[in-house]
Symmetry: none
């Protein structure tokens, strides 16, 4: 058994959640899709909500690992490199990317926790934003507003590329970066 039943469940859940919605996906169908018994799901996760949360943490982990972030972002050039990296990741892992979107706007997250969802995923952004603001490169908008702005731009761009069957070499990748960043600069 190379892949644990727990991971099989998370994998199945991801596919079904993105396909049908979280509330629209039954725990029974997840188990079936994962090839395990219904009871097994509740052996690994106390309830559906914890499965959803575990999946979120699982994917956040995956994103961070895959991006292999090393050190901070110091310049716009580095930011662009990261922008391309995130978009490439999104195109390689469309379901995972999509899940961040639906999880963020679902009633499965307490609204108090909501704002931190994406920030946690794209936490490396915060430091970059603060730095840019500190050196006066960014206009005077609240950091969390800016973070939201950047994240949505990333999500939008990936969704757009997927919907239009474009790949990471599309002009749109760098153009979207400009659109997002220039608006924030003085």
């Amino acid at each position: 058994m190379a892949i644990s039943k727990k991971q099989q469940l998370l994998d199945a859940a991801l596919v079904l959640f993105v396909e049908q919605g979280i509330s629209e996906t039954s725990t029974a169908s997840i188990a079936k899709h994962a090839g395990v018994a219904t009871g097994t799901l509740f052996h690994h996760f106390a309830n559906k909500k914890e499965l959803v949360e575990a999946l979120y943490l699982n994917l956040k982990e995956a994103l961070v690992t895959d991006l292999a972030l090393s050190g901070e972002i110091e310049s716009s050039e580095q930011a662009l490199v990261l922008w391309r990296k995130v978009i490439t990741w999104g195109l390689t892992n469309p379901e995972k990317m999509a899940f961040f979107g639906i999880y963020y706007s679902s009633p499965w997250v307490e609204s108090s926790f909501k704002s931190s969802v994406l920030n946690n995923v794209f936490s490396f952004l915060i430091a970059f934003i603060e730095k840019q603001k500190a050196v006066g490169a960014f206009i005077n908008l609240p950091t969390d507003y800016i973070a939201m702005h950047i994240q949505q731009s990333l999500l939008n761009t990936v969704n757009y590329l997927i919907e239009h069957n474009l790949n990471a070499n599309s002009d749109l990748v760098d153009l979207s970066f400009s659109t997002c960043l220039f608006g924030l600069q003085h």
Copy 2:
């Protein structure tokens, strides 16, 4: 009976959908909240999906009527006026605004229809974008990408203002406009 039962149902649905999510809101609770019998809901709407769609159309209508759009947008100044108008409307009608967001990202909309949802609501944007692109004021991004960008910025801004208890006079209103638009300009 000043207000029809059908409208009472739509009103109740709006409140509950935004509060709890669409899938999480039972038709029974909508009827109860509206002060009508459960059967009455299904007398006016064939099923829950049609109620959701009717609500969307209802709110789109309301937005257009309330904004009282007259003529086209010719300049950035007019665009700013409209930007403020939309945000004011969003702050005055937070549930209606929120519904557009959750409807757009819910499994209740066929994905084929999805892209047109927001475009339908903010249809006045398309003409403006095309014109700006025609005169070379906007960079060469697809119109629907730009529309998505602007819409999400509006939604984000309203959400941010609501969450932080800010009103339409906040500096953020005009700043968000700059952030959104400058990024699009050459």
Copy 3:
């Protein structure tokens, strides 16, 4: 209005009952099919059960009128003539014929009334049977058993002809008569 709304309702009910079953047919669909308002049905019939009963009486009446029975059946030749007449009527009015079958075996008839349902329709048979028994032409089976036997044979034959797209000239008509009657004779 050549045809009364009451009759339109009975006509619609007949078609739908035979097509879908009595319990499976809603009063709303009957009204719709008849081109009248839902309330109108309950204006003419106290409830669904009374509509069903009225339909039965209506069709029984129609059968008797259409067969134009004059005098009693005195001989096997007359019986054969009548046999052909009933089958022709059944082929001309397949829904009406079918209704007798489904009404007879439906839970809409009190079981106490059940045995008399078909006997009422084919009442002319009873006298014939009694006479044949009196002259010793029929074997010693209870009259109501014989009546049931003959009725089921008629119903079966009509159903068979309809299902196999045969008409009243088929050999089967007279053969079925023989099969039914010879078995009853000494």
Copy 4:
């Protein structure tokens, strides 16, 4: 647990279907009668229709097993023995017998499947009929018409016996056999 919950459900369904009609019996009442939870019914049967079909197959199986049919029917004497056997079975299992009748004439069976319902139950008849026709003992009626005729005679006879509180020793048993068979002979 000597008897499985699935069988308990089938048993309860049989009793209630025969008592009240199939459409008139709610799944909830079946579960209650069977002493199981409502959900249990749908754990074993995808929906009500499948329960009905499963019950039919279950009873067909029971009939065949109970009659312990060995070899083919070669003569009228053997046919009479079987006739008595079936009637005895019907009197011993009145609900099972009644179910065949109501199932056959219910909207729960697709009309395409309908003709095969009784033929499946009394399949041993077909071979007998064909043989009798082959040796010229039966008049030239279609086999399926004859099968229908015999089956209905059996059903009618059992129903008559039950309604009149008669047992398998009644003269009617053998008389009904004569009535049914002689009519079919040259």
